[in-house]
Subunit: 254 residues, 4 copies
């Protein structure tokens, strides 16, 4: 039985993680860290509730973190120093912080996973895009989001472009230096187009073209429940990881 | 029986038009204008061939023109002055030339059609987009073409934006003033994104979004044979037109 | 100022309609009919609450009905007999009941609208599909729904097939008598394919093909908030309708 | 320099292979086998032409075969027995014939590739679909072809279903026993839907759905030139293969 501790258990993601862990036959929720968690008492009696990091006096096998950019670094350091393997969905860790955490993990001989995106469809899209680019160097990305998303293009789209560039065996045949605005924004030699429309949630397509044929990979995120599949994969894998890895794709068994 | 004359009968479009006319039970091909048409003798004996406009000494009901921007104005003027109703697929007529031709047509009491695009899927896409914009003011256009297309966005995409603007009842809710390059190029308040990839031919999508729902209209042109359906619509309608209209959508009976 | 009465105001759709009406500058919510509405007191003091149809002793201009198949007929009859114009989103009215209501409406000289689907994207898709079929008689429908939807194909898909058949000028060129199961189910000569997958909500595509080109119309319903746009259209139009019409498409001003 | 022999060099595929080989800097076309090849003389003087298999008296490193189901087995046997490595795009080899050829290849210590489909987009789609099924057991296939394709579903779609079944870690959550015709035809537990429309060429989509998200992989084959990319991959790899493998995916370096 894996003993699981959840930091941020009362947030929108945290609540779903609590439900997920409670459904796993091989997991036991032993504690949570969240503001007011103690007082509100929404958890089972077997779950110990903590308001502050330094109050925590119990141990667990796994530390799941869906908190805030301000809290995540100290949280994960605490977890590693107390022999808990981290599964981190909180964004905001700098490269330096990530490297420091990886060193601590190495010292403690603990594995774990830090994932900027727990959506399996997005993670698979990026993985496949990198592989396809080996044979289809010409690619363009179209990401589509709800009207309220302010930044463009999305972080996932920029990351996808990076992976396509890594996968390419040569340069594509398209003139990407075209400065027409309609041709999108160029990242690592891959044009990205960003659509913003009401009704849409979060979607991304990668379009590949070659002589006489086309290949398209698309992912749609309809709601955040989608992240739970990715967290489940991490829960299944984390005890056998020997390193603190970055990216859910690193632990997919394909 | 409609007597049909074809100008540009030996070009890539012209050849297909010849085949189309010969297949129509109610049409008879009576003459063609094309360089070397006379000498090459690829036409039936009943078809009279002319190399020069001023040699033409026969009459017809319909003049189909798939020639060159240089020739089209004089051709259509000649046709109208000789009581032939024009179906014009040649591009390059200026607004002034078009208006002059419309006046001549009015004087001769002849109808006809000048169409920048004879592809029915593209024409219907634009028509539907204009109608949908009444209820979905938020729209974006993605056009996708082969890698060799130099201009971006395509003329059809710009025209679609114009029709969406015409159909809109109010302004959309999206901030289209966002100057991020990934947000595309703005025409009449509609962002246009242009994709250029090998393998692709000519494709266009209009994406509409509203609260909790989306509507998408897409057209694909795989090859030029698609234009023949539009020419056939024109052939069916031209004898009953009372004006020289611009745009195939003007003569669709829906 | 239009005085609006809402039947079924505490249901999932009803609650959204209440919000919609309260946001309209030219509408005033004057009363609701719903079980326990009186006791629960979730409504403004200016709104009169009724638990039973026969208790209603106030008048309004418009009656919006999102109740149950058991209640809808008596509700709408009551509304018409009390000079209220109905906007009906409740399903379950038989053809006979609908015709009887239309007669009462005629006698009372009242207009109204009964709509099986208030989703604008679905209504526009059906309208455009009927129009496109005039020029593209070959069409197939693919509807995609969440895994829990038991019936296949969906009612909207069957209705779309009916409208395509109505719009067709001739028969298509495809052999739809092919009895291979993969070729889908045939309704009015249009093959319908039904996809059932978790994650999906409610989506429909119509694919048209002709020589060298294709036209595709797709709608996505992500959540029920989408119906509110359609109810708003009905609210805007209902005072000027002279008949009780069936189908939101009948009152779209395009 | 690789010496290449092409069987079926005057067929529609063969002609394109001839052009491909002539463009490769590291390949030399040394001979062809084709009816009338000798007489017609369309080949360079350095290319030896043969009408019959038993006339061939030259040697080469690679034998490319795009002939007929009747000829392919004897052709490839001949090639292997004469130390030529086969690249086979001809269909029609039975399982027994394939196994016999693999034994001969083993005896001769020669590698090669027999590929039912040289289209890279189709091969990648199948590979990715198998991988995605590990995390998305719920999948459906939609294949779309031109109106003249008689069989349904396509062989590639059936093969894709087989690979999805292989990749699945458990059974999906969808009731695929539903006997509604609209639910398609079931292969290895994966519903396949087949669309037949004029204008379409050869296209396939795999739709995956999971809680709150969807993943879609699509490939479009617009014309047969697409196969040449796959033949080029085979040309690049064949000299380093130690076995006669079946399927282009076996030699993709990803």
């Amino acid at each position: 039985m894996k003993r699981v501790f959840i930091a941020g258990a009362t947030g929108s993601m945290g609540k779903q993680v609590v439900q997920l862990v409670e459904k796993q036959a091989d997991c036991e929720l032993v504690g949570v860290l969240a503001p007011h968690a103690k007082k509100d008492g929404d958890f089972a009696k077997t779950v110990q509730c903590f308001d502050q990091l330094d109050e925590i006096d119990i141990s667990a096998d796994i530390w799941i973190d869906f908190t805030t950019p301000q809290a995540v670094f100290e949280n994960v350091k605490f977890a590693l120093n107390h022999q808990m393997r981290p599964i981190v969905g909180t964004s905001g860790l700098t490269t330096e912080q990530t490297e420091e955490l990886q060193k601590i993990a190495e010292g403690q001989q603990l594995g774990g996973v830090i994932a900027p995106n727990f959506g399996l469809s997005a993670v698979l899209l990026m993985k496949f895009a990198q592989e396809a680019a080996r044979y289809f160097p010409d690619a363009e990305i179209i990401e589509m989001h709800h009207a309220d998303k302010l930044d463009a293009p999305s972080g996932t789209a920029i990351n996808t472009a990076k992976m396509i560039a890594k996968g390419r065996s040569g340069s594509g045949s398209i003139d990407t230096n075209n400065d027409a605005r309609a041709r999108g924004d160029l990242y690592d030699g891959v044009p990205i187009h960003a659509v913003r429309l009401p009704g849409y949630v979060a979607h991304e397509q990668v379009l590949f073209g070659g002589p006489g044929e086309a290949l398209t990979i698309r992912q749609d995120s309809f709601d955040r429940s989608s992240f739970m599949q990715g967290v489940k994969v991490a829960l299944d894998q984390v005890m056998s990881l020997s390193k603190l890895v970055v990216g859910l794709d690193k632990i997919l068994s394909i």
